[in-house]
Each structure stands twice: as C-alpha cells, then as structure tokens.
C-alpha cells in the first residue's frame, strides 16, 4: 500500500529493477522451477500416476527423489505438480487481477461507486478464505476449477485496492489536472493518462499474487479440497508428505524445496521491481 507513494515517479524501470542481484536471483529461481515444470515430459518418462509396491523408498537411480506412500515416482510427481500449479496460477491470477482492476476503475467513476467497491473488497477480505474454499468445493465438487475460483476471489481485493490507491494519487497530479482542464473527458483522462501511470505497483502485486496462489493451492490440499486426486500438485504432494515428516523426511524435502524456491523467487522479483520503481 505504502509502496504506491513511491510509484510516483513515472519511469519504467522494470528491467532495471530486475538487473540487480536480487532481481536476477529471483528470475533465476522462478525460471528454473517453471522450466522444470514445462519440460516435465522431457525430463522424466516416469508416469506420475503409476503405482508400485515400492512405497516410501529413498532416492535411487530409478527414482531420483524416491517414491511416495503409494509407490509413485516423486520426481515425476513433483515436476508434473509444478505444471498443475502453473496452470492454476496462470488462469486464476489474471482473472483476479482483471476483476480487481475493473472494480477499481469503476470506483474511480463516482463517489458512490467508490464506497460500494470498497465495501465489496471488505466483504471479500472478511470471508475467511479457507472456509470459502470448503464451501466452493462443496458446491462445485473437487477439481481445478474450485481452486482457480478461490484463488481468483482472493486476489481481487489486492489488485483492486492497489490500483484504486494509485488512481487516487495520480488523479491529483499536474498532468492529469492539465488534461482535464484541456477538455479531455473524465473516462479519457482515467484510461489514457491516469491508468498507465498507476500500473507499476500492479506488476509487483502480480509477483506477490503468484506466490499467494501457490500457498492457497497448498492450504486447500491440506484441508482435503485441493485438485482432484490422483493429479499431482505441489501443495497436494507436500500435504500428503506431512504425515511422514518424522519417519521419512525425504518425502517432504523435494516438494518443499520447489515451493520455497518458487515463492522465494517471486518475492525477490517483487522486491527488485519495487526498488526499481522507487529509484
């Protein structure tokens, strides 16, 4: 929220932000994880769903990460799990972002709309997300869609509030006032002048949103309302491994490492971008 104050200086420094050590490290971490997920079918020919009698085995030549409780190859499951998480986030985050931004633009049209939109954000934030997840999954039946919907709903207020605050700041700046004095319509000023200047913080929000998506997917799996089994997902593998944390810690290691790397990378990118904007 406060970072917006810093988004004042209108200079596009996205790449510059990413050129810092932190930014590079972030891009590298996320890049490796994303690539591993995208190239999963090339990196392993083990079927992530094939079971065997060899359960909870340690790492070996045949199973680089070992096997899970049903004797499935963990390496393959983790790689395909990344794909699942990517697919979910790539659908859910943009939907949440677009809806949030649309609401923020609506809020900019009038005072009444502004109050209404703010209360909508309040409502979305007030609902305990995981209870909503239980309810949505119960209504729709389990699968990817409930996860996507829950994540999208959770992302709306983040983007919306961010953009609304940005618009409020930008609207009062000289160039916007000048445009309005120059006879440009309200909508035109908003879309042509104010909006482009208020989007910088949204890109930071985007990076944060992706890491939030990974967490929500994990928490939903932990509560038993994640993607439909036996499809692997990072959160699903991780939450299944929790029962074996003391007896077979290796089971949790790989999915945890991937989740941490992904989220850490996204956080680093967000920070780097943030500093880039600020500079």
């Amino acid at each position: 929220m406060t970072t917006l104050a810093v988004g004042l200086r209108r200079r596009r420094l996205l790449p510059a932000g990413l050129h810092t050590l932190r930014g590079t490290a972030g891009v590298l971490l996320v890049g490796v994880v994303v690539l591993a997920g995208l190239l999963a079918p090339l990196l392993t020919d083990a079927d992530p769903l094939a079971q065997s009698g060899l359960a909870l085995a340690g790492p070996s030549g045949a199973h680089p990460f070992g096997t899970d409780d049903l004797g499935r190859d963990l390496f393959s499951r983790v790689l395909h799990g990344i794909r699942t998480d990517l697919l979910i986030s790539v659908t859910a985050v943009p939907v949440g972002a677009v809806l949030g931004c649309a609401l923020a633009l609506l809020a900019a049209t009038s005072r009444g709309a502004d109050v209404a939109v703010q209360r909508v954000f309040d409502l979305l934030l007030a609902f305990p997300g995981l209870i909503l997840a239980l309810a949505v999954t119960a209504v729709l039946g389990p699968g990817r869609w409930p996860v996507v919907i829950v994540i999208a709903l959770a992302e709306i207020p983040g983007f919306g509030r961010q953009l609304r605050a940005g618009i409020l700041v930008q609207r009062e700046r000289e160039y916007a006032l000048a445009a309005r004095v120059g006879g440009a319509s309200r909508a035109r000023v908003l879309l042509r002048h104010v909006l482009p200047n208020a989007v910088d913080p949204l890109i930071v929000q985007g990076a944060i949103a992706f890491s939030l998506a990974v967490f929500i997917e994990g928490a939903m799996s932990f509560l038993g309302v994640g993607v439909r089994p036996p499809e692997p997902s990072l959160g699903g593998i991780l939450s299944q491994s929790m029962a074996y944390l003391s007896t077979h810690p290796g089971y949790a290691a790989a999915p945890l490492l991937v989740v941490t790397a992904l989220v850490l990378g996204l956080t680093l990118i967000a920070e780097a971008l943030n500093e880039g904007i600020r500079r």
């Binding site: 094939a50 079971q51 049903l70 119960a138 089994p229 029962a243």
Partner: protein, 519 residues
C-alpha cells in the same frame, strides 16, 4: 547504530524470556512414557483419549463414527465375550423360551442412575421402545421392533415377547444403552447425559473436549479405577499422532492406517486390533448403473484389486485382505470365503471380455479424508490395469451420507462398513450396504431376501443349520458382488505404555470399568 539494534533485540528477548519463564513453573508438555513398571491396578488418574471425530449428541442411539461415550456413561443389559457369548451386566441372568418367541431377564437390584434414581424393569422397557422409534435411527431397530410385548414380574424381572424368533437378539442387548427416560430429549440435544455407567458426564466443549468424572456409586464395587476421563477431539490426524507421541493423550482408536507402522516401530505404544465396528473396507457398486449391471463386470472388479497392497500401503499392514465381509471371530468366517477373489488381473480382463465390455469409464466416489483418498487412488490404479478407467470423486461425509440414504450413489464408491463382527444376520437386516429390503446398491433379489430372512428369523445362531444359511448369504454376496469387500480392518487401539485394561465392545463402545494408569 548497532547499540540501538542490540537494545531493541534485547528488549524483544526479555519479553520472550518473560513468557518462557512464566511457562517454566508448570509444564503442559507431558514427559514421554518410560517403560512403566506394572504393579497391578491403581486407583486414580485421568485418562486422556484422542479422537478425530467429535461426538454427535443426536446420534446417541445409532452406530456412528464416535461411540466412545456410550459405555462410559451408560450400561447395557449384557456384553459379549470374544466368542460372541453374552455375559451379565445390568442383567444377571436370562432364559430364552424354547421356541425363541420370548426371553426373561433377571436384573440387578443395586443399580442407581447418576441422579440417584433406582434402575428398574421400566427402564429396560423404555430403552427398547426408544430404539423402536424411527427418529432414533438405531441400526438394530428391526430387531428391537420384533419385541411386541413386555411383562414385568416385580421391579427386577422382565419378559420380552417377540413377534418371531431372531438369531441376533443379543446383538440388540450389546447395542442398547439404558438411559434415563426423563432426560432422553436433553441427551440427544447434547445438554446432559444421565445413565448408570462408571462415569458421570462432565463438561463438553463441542469440537474440543468432553470430560467425565468417576461415578462414586457405581454398582461394580471398587470400579472404575480412574478418577476421570477426558476425550480430546483433534480433527487433524497428524496432530492426533503428535499428541500421542508427546504423551499428551494416552489412548486413541482413530490413528490413520498409514501412521500405525511408524508408531509400532517406536516401542512407545501397544497396538491392539479389535474385530469391531466400522472396520471393513469395501467397494459399493450401484447395480442400476448401465455399465455395471452385468455381474461379471462386478466380479472382474473384485478380481482386479490388489487387497494385499491396499492393506500394506493404506492400512499400515493392519488388516485382513478379504473378499467376504466377515472378521475371523464371526461364525460365518472361512478362509475359502476370504480368498474367494484374489489379485488376478488376467481373470478380470477375461471376465470383462466375456461380458463384452470395453472402454469403461466409471465415476468413483470416496471419502475426502487422507485415508479414503489413498485407498481410492490404489483402487483406481488397480482397475486401470484391467482397462477400467475411473474418475475419482472426493466427497465429504454429509454429501456421501445423503447419497447413501437417498440411493443416489454413483456407479462405484468406496467406504467402510460395520456390523459384520456381530451375528451374521445383523449385517443383512441392519447395515445399509447389505440390507435386503433397501440398499444403496439398488440390489434386490427374492433369493437373497429369502435366505437373509431365514437366517434372521430363527432361535439359534450357531447351529450347523444356521451356519449353512450364513454360507448361502456369503455365496450370494460373493457371486452378485454388489458389495465388494476388500479388507477387514477393525479398530486399532493405540495405547501408551501407562494405559491398561481399556476395551471396546462390539459396537466400539469404550469400556473403562477395569482401566487404570500406571505411574
């Protein structure tokens, strides 16, 4: 600059240390169980029991997922020993008529309810009538309903007249708790429980805990040994296991299968399996679904599943792979029945071919708990190997229950069932999956109904003739395969080494009359 940071760090740590030192005066973390020297029963102590499922007051009179409370607060007329022979409890002796159409009980005359009222024959009459009430949803209602008349002979002798003989009569008396008639509505509303049992109902914090205190006027002299019992509700199975490992809880019957192997290896616990309640895992088939109408398809499913692997990977090795519903303690058990279907994918494929079925894709519902999900995935994989694709439908228990009751289950589902641990007739007249009159599989056949009724409506339960009828029931179940049994799991008692003498009855009622804690 650094002095500042040190200082603020210091302040933070002083505050934290304050909290910790406050914590140091009394520890809420129990020290782990050492090897306790057992020196016979000891009076005193509070037993802490962990369960994943909270008790549901409205299901007090039905067999449900949590039946730990029933035998703590209440008593039954009789209780079974390991061979299903009834032993006296509130009834001291009984005399069935030769034709099996009546039975006369002599009752204890020294029993008081927790509110001080004396227990009499009227309380037994109330208990039977209460179970006849459909609103109580008692599974043994059909058996209770055979009682048509009550004849009192004084306050402590009672004759029950039956409409027809039933072979599972004593299952009813193992099941039926004797409650105080005046407060029964309070009991099902969760307000109070008044019985004659070893413990008085204390405080319940829904979703968290229930406490019980010793009944000082219990009819069994010197019992119970314990001062109190606490049932702790820990919905997350992993947390429940942690609670046992830290010694915070002493005893549990709800440890998930996959955790059992780890606990067994630790040497910190005694594990004991019971042939009781909801412990048989099965695949239910909705025979009204077009693709599984042909019994050869259902038989193929039964050949396709690897019961051994299921027991190893999902049940921690605790369970008996079996194609029939009966545990070893049942009069209907035989090795031949249990191994009637073995893991034989080739045979399964052959049967499917014979039935002219290929490219099957079936919806497959399962409970969305970690255990239920693991079992379903194992079965899905096995079925895929013979060419049957399934789409898993993780379902939460209220939805499942509604579908079961309203007979709207998908083509396949997997769950667990109880009632096979009793007299075999009880399974077929009481348990929903097997009920001859109305079951979730939509299966009915005059032949099945006839055998079930004959096995049920007879005065004896373990003559050669009775056993022959049970075998016919089993043969039908195996041949028709509308319920495909996978493994007999039973309840596994996980007890810390301090705990002695806890037992379950055949309906999973926890009996702590003789239980004690060593130091």
């Amino acid at each position: 600059m650094t002095s500042l940071s040190r200082r603020s760090l210091l302040r933070g740590s002083v505050a934290a240390a304050g909290l910790l030192s406050l914590a140091a005066c009394r520890s809420a973390a129990e020290s782990g169980d050492g090897a306790a020297a057992s020196a016979g029963p000891r009076r005193g102590g509070t037993l802490s029991l962990a369960t994943t499922i909270d008790y549901t007051p409205s299901l007090l009179f039905a067999q449900s997922a949590n039946t730990l409370v029933q035998r703590l607060v209440f008593n039954t007329l009789t209780r079974y020993d390991d061979q299903l022979r009834p032993q006296p409890e509130l009834a001291t002796s009984w005399q069935p008529a030769a034709d099996g159409r009546s039975i006369t009980f002599k009752l204890r005359d020294d029993v008081l309810f927790h509110d001080g009222r004396k227990f009499t024959a009227d309380d037994v009459i109330f208990a039977v009538k209460n179970l006849q009430n459909p609103v109580r949803s008692a599974q043994l209602r059909s058996t209770a309903a055979t009682v048509t008349e009550f004849r009192k002979n004084g306050d402590h002798e009672l004759t029950l007249e039956l409409a027809h003989p039933v072979s599972n009569l004593f299952d009813l008396f193992e099941f039926m708790i004797i409650t105080d008639s005046a407060t029964v509505e309070d009991a099902v509303a969760g307000k109070q429980l008044i019985g004659t049992g070893p413990f008085r109902y204390g405080k319940r914090t829904p979703g968290s805990s229930i406490t019980f205190t010793r009944n000082e006027k219990y009819w069994n002299p010197g019992r119970p040994y314990l001062d109190g019992v606490e049932i702790r509700v820990i919905p997350q199975a992993d947390s429940l296991v942690s609670s046992l490992k830290t010694g915070q809880s002493h005893l549990s019957y709800h440890v998930p299968g996959k955790d059992l192997a780890g606990l067994k290896g630790s040497g910190q616990f005694q594990l004991r399996p019971y042939d009781t309640g909801s412990g048989a895992y099965y695949i239910g088939v909705n025979v009204s679904a077009e693709q599984v109408k042909d019994k050869r398809v259902r038989q193929a499913i039964s050949w396709a599943v690897d019961r051994e692997r299921l027991v190893q990977q999902a049940l921690g090795g605790y369970g008996l792979p079996s194609a029939a519903p009966w545990p070893k303690s049942s009069p209907a058990y035989s090795d031949a029945n249990a191994t009637h279907y073995r893991h034989d994918p080739a045979k399964a494929r052959e049967l499917l071919k014979e039935a002219g079925v290929s490219g099957l894709t079936l919806p497959f519902a399962h409970s969305n708990t970690p255990d239920g999900t693991a079992i379903a995935q194992i079965l899905q994989h096995d079925l895929k190997q013979v060419g049957i694709e399934t789409e898993l439908q993780p379902t939460d228990s209220p939805t499942m229950q509604k579908q079961l009751i309203s007979q709207t289950m998908p083509a396949l589902w997997t769950l667990s069932h109880g009632f096979a641990q009793l007299h075999p007739a009880t399974l077929a007249v009481s348990a929903y999956p097997f009920n001859e009159a109305k079951n979730s599989s939509h299966f009915s056949s005059p032949g099945y109904t006839d055998i079930v009724q004959r096995a049920w409506k007879r005065p004896d339960s373990d003559s050669a003739e009775a056993k022959a009828l049970y075998q016919q029931v089993t043969d039908t179940l195996l041949d028709e395969a509308f319920v495909i049994d996978l493994a007999i799991g039973g309840q596994i008692e996980v007890a810390g080494t301090k705990v002695h003498g806890a037992t379950l009855n055949k309906f999973n009622y926890l009996n702590l009359d003789d239980a004690y804690l060593t130091v």
